[in-house]
């Protein structure tokens, strides 16, 4: 992959974000597809297949945005995915945790680009958000169901959420990142990573509060193991 912008610039940060967005959507699509025949209900198996198709389509349509950022030989599926998705989603609670938090973090970023000065991204963002609406409905409805499914199922789900958040929360990068701040200043993205994390956190905490289930989604503190180019945290 030929890039000209260093990672601390606005363009360099957007290359990292957009490339990783595309890789993560590809990985999420494959992980969803793994459950298309084994979800707990026929309805959710079909929904998993539909969401997989959506994610793979979003991934495919996002890679060309890199060209507008000066990357002329963008590598597809270049390992810029969350480590959480390396081995797929081990059970249905892990699926819903990723559906809620990984999909949630990525979609929040996409929503922050609908008015982007990077017009190729803004155009795709509107279409992606149309389809992501049903992903959020699916994640939140299953989250409610898992919260009401007994102590063992709920506790496992809460543990899966904590694990997913460790990875998903770091995707945007640390607070005060100069490259992200430059991207905001350049109108490439509306708000910084901290703001985006808070959007996801407040929505999810409100959902669980309504169910009477206490969870925490802390601001990441330890950035050891964080790769800013691949936007990937390895514990």
């Amino acid at each position: 992959m030929t890039t000209t912008a260093p990672p601390t610039t606005a363009e360099g940060t957007m290359i990292s974000l957009v490339g990783s967005l595309a890789d993560n959507k590809a990985a999420l699509g494959r992980a969803y597809a793994d459950w298309a025949v084994s979800a707990p209900t026929l309805e959710s198996a079909v929904a998993a297949a539909a969401m997989a198709q959506d994610e793979l389509g979003h991934s495919r349509s996002t890679y060309p945005v890199l060209k507008a950022l000066g990357v002329h030989d963008a590598e597809v599926d270049a390992g810029r995915r969350l480590a959480l998705l390396d081995a797929g989603l081990v059970d249905w609670t892990a699926f819903i945790a990723a559906n809620l938090l990984v999909d949630g973090v990525l979609t929040t970023f996409v929503a922050e680009t609908t008015e982007s000065s990077l017009t190729q991204m803004a155009q795709r963002a509107r279409k992606i958000l149309q389809e992501e609406g049903s992903h959020q409905v699916h994640a939140e409805a299953w989250a409610r169901r898992l919260c009401r499914s007994g102590d063992a199922q709920r506790d496992l789900f809460v543990a899966r959420l904590a694990e997913a958040w460790e990875h998903a929360s770091r995707w945007g990068g640390p607070a005060g990142d100069p490259g992200f701040a430059a991207a905001v200043d350049a109108g490439l993205v509306a708000h910084d990573a901290t703001h985006q994390r808070e959007q996801v956190r407040s929505r999810v905490l409100e959902l669980f509060a309504r169910e009477g289930v206490s969870i925490t989604l802390p601001e990441p503190v330890d950035w050891t193991g964080w790769d800013p180019d691949r936007r990937r945290w390895t514990p």
């Binding site: 209900t41 309805e43 929904a47 049903s134 409905v137 409805a141």
Partner: protein
């Protein structure tokens, strides 16, 4: 996690043109109303519908039984 009670079944109706009546196209089984809508749209997406509605089976009343 079984979802087979009568209250969880939704009858799905759809049509391709406004001039057409709504036709019964199938059912979905979901506890959650919003999830039932997502499921209906995912499962019965093979036709270019212009309208699709879901109705809880428990809301249906028999008018005639032969």
């Amino acid at each position: 996690m079984t979802l087979e009670s009568r209250e969880c079944v939704w009858e799905v109706f759809a049509r391709k043109e406004y001039a057409d009546p709504l036709h019964h196209v199938g059912t979905v089984t979901e506890e959650d109303e919003e999830l039932a809508v997502v499921s209906a749209r995912s499962i019965y997406d093979e036709q270019p519908w212009i309208e699709m509605v879901i109705v809880p089976r428990s809301a249906i009343r028999e008018a005639i039984r032969a």
